[in-house]
């Protein structure tokens, strides 16, 4: 049952994603991309669970590597997006 719910969620999220982005002006394509790239770092949740296992040797190491990479993706991704967007904002105040 849970599996069907997951698939259901996936399908609805796909439609939502298409709706959200279809009318973005081209000026914002880069920030949108790097912002959504940061969101794709959500895999950090899976990495946390894998790295936090109490047992499991190789599995834990793999989780640890995943966690480092996902954190770079998340932290770096949000920060560069913020940097880019702040530039767009700054000149609006002129």
């Amino acid at each position: 049952m849970e599996l069907i719910l997951l698939l259901f969620t996936f399908t609805l999220a796909a439609f939502l994603g298409f709706e959200l982005v279809s009318k973005v002006p081209s000026q914002l394509h880069t920030p949108l991309m790097s912002g959504s790239n940061a969101i794709s770092g959500i895999t950090i949740v899976g990495a946390l669970i894998a790295a936090g296992q109490v047992e499991g040797n190789l599995s834990k190491w793999l989780g640890f590597a995943a966690l480092v990479l996902a954190t770079i993706n998340v932290v770096g991704g949000y920060m560069v997006t913020d940097r880019m967007l702040s530039m767009f904002k700054a000149k609006k105040n002129d």
Binding site: F10, L20, Q27, H29, G35, A38, S40, T43
Partner: protein, 471 residues
């Protein structure tokens, strides 16, 4: 506790949705990004609240990742943005691959015990688990090596042009078919003795196909590739979400997958090419592949003479391209634009959707140089008024202003929407030398009567014009 965690995941998903929505408008974008980062923080904190985790490894992983990410984000130049985004993207993909792998290692010793562990009863059978693990591995692996090749091309560590060799398509097809076969065999025989070997082969082939797939794609097609890989990194996260039955991964990953796909389609449309043509065309490797012979010659003009024309101009349009990024000329351009405005001219910056190496690349650079948002015009708006423009200054752009796209049916880029600078009264083309653009196509614009070439480094040329005005 599990209930509270799940509620937090729902709230995080809502924050992501609002975040992406607000990223779509200039006035709300900064806030949107912060809201989405809040969602990420919430998802992480909620996960940490699980009772079954040991925290030493987690602390170490988060700390080292955060430091690396922080330094990379602080130090990058705006011109280096495309390759950094590509790199981050690749890391996300590899992380999803590793999450899938870690889950496989958990299950491998005893599948029946593993399936009973799953209190949600999400997974009906080993083969299903195996399939979603394969998906996470394949999509994550392609995203990783594909992004790394894109990163190497964008940062100039390997040649930016398309790398093609005889039999390449056949090889790619072979690897792809092999990957599907091995992945399927692994899923069916996941409890068999060869499963681990098949699994490792799947990992290797996924990494290989990502590399082979991006190699034949040239620099000017990078905006499409980056957008597509971005979409893949989302789908990889969603696949990892199915592996560990986690809703927030599925939702957030899928949102990114869908939005990345839309961007990809927009980029393809802006080049009048299909996605298949971009991915498998090997565009730009075959130089001079079609197009009419050009008559006439390119006519140069000195910076002094260009100054006299600009001094009298009432309306000026800048058309930046990748060359502006390479020369880091954006600040000089902004300075020249200000002087021209004080001189009474109306100034616009016309940005083609695929100018540069990632979607919206030029906008970011011009924004860095403090160019007013209102002066940034999209292609269609500029084309509407282009015939009234006195001077169009093309800075390191090439294919996006090539009139062959409009009037030469035999040209490979025929039908691609361009900025019609050839209809302006005068065109100044700033160019390093006389060679063709990345696509290897001759740009007929440069041979037109109303076009004058200013050779040399774009930044030096623009600065030269600025100092002419100062005198």
């Amino acid at each position: 506790m599990q209930f509270a965690i799940n509620i937090s995941y729902i709230v995080a998903a809502i924050l992501f949705v609002f975040g992406i929505k607000m990223l779509g408008s200039a006035t709300t974008a900064v806030k949107g990004n912060r809201i989405s980062s809040l969602g990420m923080l919430l998802a992480v904190v909620a996960t940490l609240a699980r009772s079954d985790l040991g925290y030493e490894w987690i602390a170490g992983g988060i700390l080292s990742g955060a430091i690396i990410g922080f330094i990379a984000a602080k130090r990058v130049q705006m011109t280096g943005m495309p390759e950094l985004v590509a790199l981050f993207n690749g890391f996300g993909g590899l992380a999803s691959l590793l999450v899938g792998w870690a889950e496989y290692e958990k299950a491998r010793p005893d599948w029946s015990a593993y399936l009973q562990l799953d209190e949600n009863n999400a997974v009906p059978a080993p083969w299903f688990s195996a399939i979603v693990i394969v998906l996470a591995i394949v999509i994550g692996g392609i995203t990783f090596t594909g992004s790394i090749v894109a990163y190497l091309k964008l940062s100039g560590k390997i040649g930016g042009t398309a790398t093609v060799f005889p039999g390449q398509k056949a090889l790619n097809l072979l690897v792809m078919v092999g990957l599907v076969a091995v992945g399927a065999l692994f899923s069916i025989t996941v409890e068999g003795i060869n499963a681990q070997f098949l699994f490792l082969t799947t990992v290797a082939l996924s990494l290989l196909i990502g590399m082979l797939g991006v190699m034949p794609i040239g620099g000017g097609d990078m905006p499409v590739v980056i957008a597509l890989l971005n979409s893949f990194s989302g789908l990889a996260a969603a696949a990892a979400g199915f592996v560990i039955s986690n809703t927030v991964l599925v939702v957030a990953g899928c949102l990114v997958g869908a939005s990345g796909l839309i961007l990809t389609v927009i980029m393809c449309k802006a080049m009048n090419r299909t996605l298949g043509n971009v991915l498998f065309g090997g565009f730009g490797a075959t130089s001079g592949g079609g197009g009419k012979q050009v008559e006439g010659e390119m006519k140069g003009i000195s910076v002094e003479d260009a100054y006299y024309v600009l001094e009298a101009a009432q309306s000026v349009v800048f058309v930046p391209g990748y060359g502006m990024a390479v020369a880091q000329a954006q600040h000089a351009v902004k300075e020249l634009a200000e002087i021209l405005e004080r001189n009474g001219a109306e100034v616009r910056h016309a940005v083609h959707p695929v100018a540069g190496r990632m979607p919206g690349h030029m906008n970011v650079l011009l924004a860095e140089a403090d160019v007013a948002y209102e002066q940034l015009c999209e292609m269609d708006d500029v084309n509407a008024i282009i015939s009234t423009v006195d001077v169009a200054i093309v800075i390191g752009a090439n294919d996006v202003v090539n009139p062959s796209a409009v009037d030469d049916e035999s040209s490979p880029i025929y039908g691609m929407p361009i900025i019609n600078v050839h209809q302006a009264k005068t065109v100044f083309a700033l160019k390093r030398g006389q060679g063709a653009g990345f696509s290897g196509l001759v740009n007929t614009l440069f041979f037109r009567d109303n076009c004058r070439m200013i050779y040399g480094d774009a930044k030096a040329t623009v600065s030269g014009l600025v100092s002419q005005f100062d005198e």
